[in-house]
Symmetry: C2
């Protein structure tokens, strides 16, 4: 049996002494000029090449410091097939460097289609001779709107390889509440989703007690974060919204249990755009921003390194 | 100004005299043996090549008969970058053949990321010199869970080019009700989403009176379909679940207004898998299945060709 996703995640965070996840959301206008200049402008292939070079170099900087990275599929998809090849290269390199990878693609569909999405990331697309994952990641984000039967193929596929999924519960965007906060039979929709996630997660707990189905809960809603932490103690939270989106380290502290476990905190722009494009020593700026985010979180988050 | 999406869609259905949409969901095990044999087995590139050949040949068969096709992104993504190149080829050929294309990818994310997804399909990814859509489609499916601010970039991008979006409202899977049927302040969640869709759609009505924001409502829930048709008269429905998933022509009739407008009905497996893989004259089977679905729908659906 492959090792359980939550156990691997927790051990990796413990080894690094922090729960920071670096989001890889490359945007052309934020790339170092040095990299943009090297990739001939004006084609999607060039853009993809620049994204790949940038992300691979970011991986070299952050791999010794953090346990988890989260490539955002949208920016790679925006470059066409070459962008997807870059995404593959980034996912593979991250894995080679020992990083845990979360593919942020927020997929879902009816079960027979969801299976294709899931196997492409986890168990591998079936194509006669071999069965390798196309977009190899240790976890991916998925959308709950279609209900459990659409989530099922992701769980089945992930569980074959010791991977995990993170289900959108309370997203970090300003307008998240339009549907997520609607009160349904006495509690908001996002709590119904959170309770479902807790039940799915409890089906397959690791030795840590955490399950392999996590929840995406935005740092921009600290009250909900605290309430959900209480409600779903066995669910790992992936917390976006820290840093550039406005969530502070104090805000995200509520995502953690008192033993320091229970969440990973994502920062994308705050780290990978922590420099002016003209800066030549941009990798040092990325390293400084990563160390600074780790120190900032350590002020409020119980030290993960203290976990036995 | 580009012509309005709903006007184009309605005119195209009127010209063909039907509201059938052919879903392009290629699956290796359902492909004609003739095509599988021609593409060396065992690699994702071969699989992608087979999907491309199959879908392009299906397009030749159905283009004279129907107005709309809907490629399912998941199956192309499952083949890696080569699969995405095949998806591009299929979208481009469909457009050349005068078909209206709906990219079924059910995307969404926070606004700054949603913009990348949207521009890749509609207004085009910005890459200095030119701005072409990467996955050119006339419409795409999106997930509403994140709320309006995440939907906004899709509307903005689509409206630049006279395209449309279809928002998941009541999906066709068996477990759709787990969250979609939760009663929130007196009505189920899917009705809240439907009302939001109606409001977004009403922001930009075409001369037909229909807006450019449609709703995905499964044929497998005929009662909800009828109720939603009543509730949102200016919203075009994309109706999956007819055929292989169990919805009948009588079930989908409720999606249409009495003037024959208001919906397109998707059939995927019922058409593109209407033959045994060993059959050599599979294109004739696809044509028969398409004509048969059109005739089946015509029994219950007011004739779109009668629309002035």
């Amino acid at each position: 049996m492959p090792q359980h996703f939550a156990d691997r995640l927790l051990a990796a965070c413990r080894a690094r002494g922090n729960a920071l996840c670096v989001g890889l959301d490359p945007r052309w206008e934020q790339l170092p000029e040095e990299i943009r200049a090297r990739h001939a402008l004006g084609t999607l292939e060039a853009m993809a090449g620049a994204y790949e070079e940038f992300c691979l170099r970011v991986l070299e900087v952050v791999a010794p410091l953090v346990a988890v990275v989260k490539p955002q599929s949208a920016f790679f998809e925006a470059c066409g097939p070459a962008g997807l090849a870059a995404l593959q290269a980034v996912l593979r390199r991250a894995r080679e460097r020992g990083l845990i990878t979360i593919l942020d693609s927020k997929r879902n569909d009816i079960a027979s289609t969801a299976e294709a999405y899931a196997d492409a990331v986890f168990a591998g697309t079936f194509c006669d001779a071999k069965r390798d994952p196309v977009w190899p990641a240790d976890a991916m984000t998925i959308n709950p709107y279609l209900g459990r039967d659409a989530v099922e193929p992701f769980l089945t596929s992930a569980r074959k390889v010791g991977a995990g999924v993170f289900v959108l519960v309370r997203t970090s965007n300003k307008g998240a509440g339009q549907f997520q906060d609607l009160v349904c039979t006495g509690k908001p929709l996002y709590r119904h989703v959170a309770e479902a996630v807790a039940a799915w997660s409890a089906e397959n707990p690791g030795t840590s007690g955490f399950g392999d189905v996590g929840a995406v809960v935005g740092a921009t809603h600290p009250a909900e974060l605290a309430q959900l932490r209480e409600l779903t103690p066995g669910v790992v939270f992936l917390v976006p919204g820290y840093g550039a989106q406005g969530g502070s380290a104090a805000d995200v502290a509520a995502a953690f249990r008192s033993d320091g476990a229970g969440a990973i905190v994502n920062s994308s722009r705050g780290i990978i755009a922590a420099f002016k494009p003209a800066e030549s020593r941009w990798e040092q700026a990325v390293e400084r921003a990563t160390r600074s985010a780790i120190a900032d979180l350590a002020q409020y988050v119980p030290l993960t390194s203290r976990l036995s």
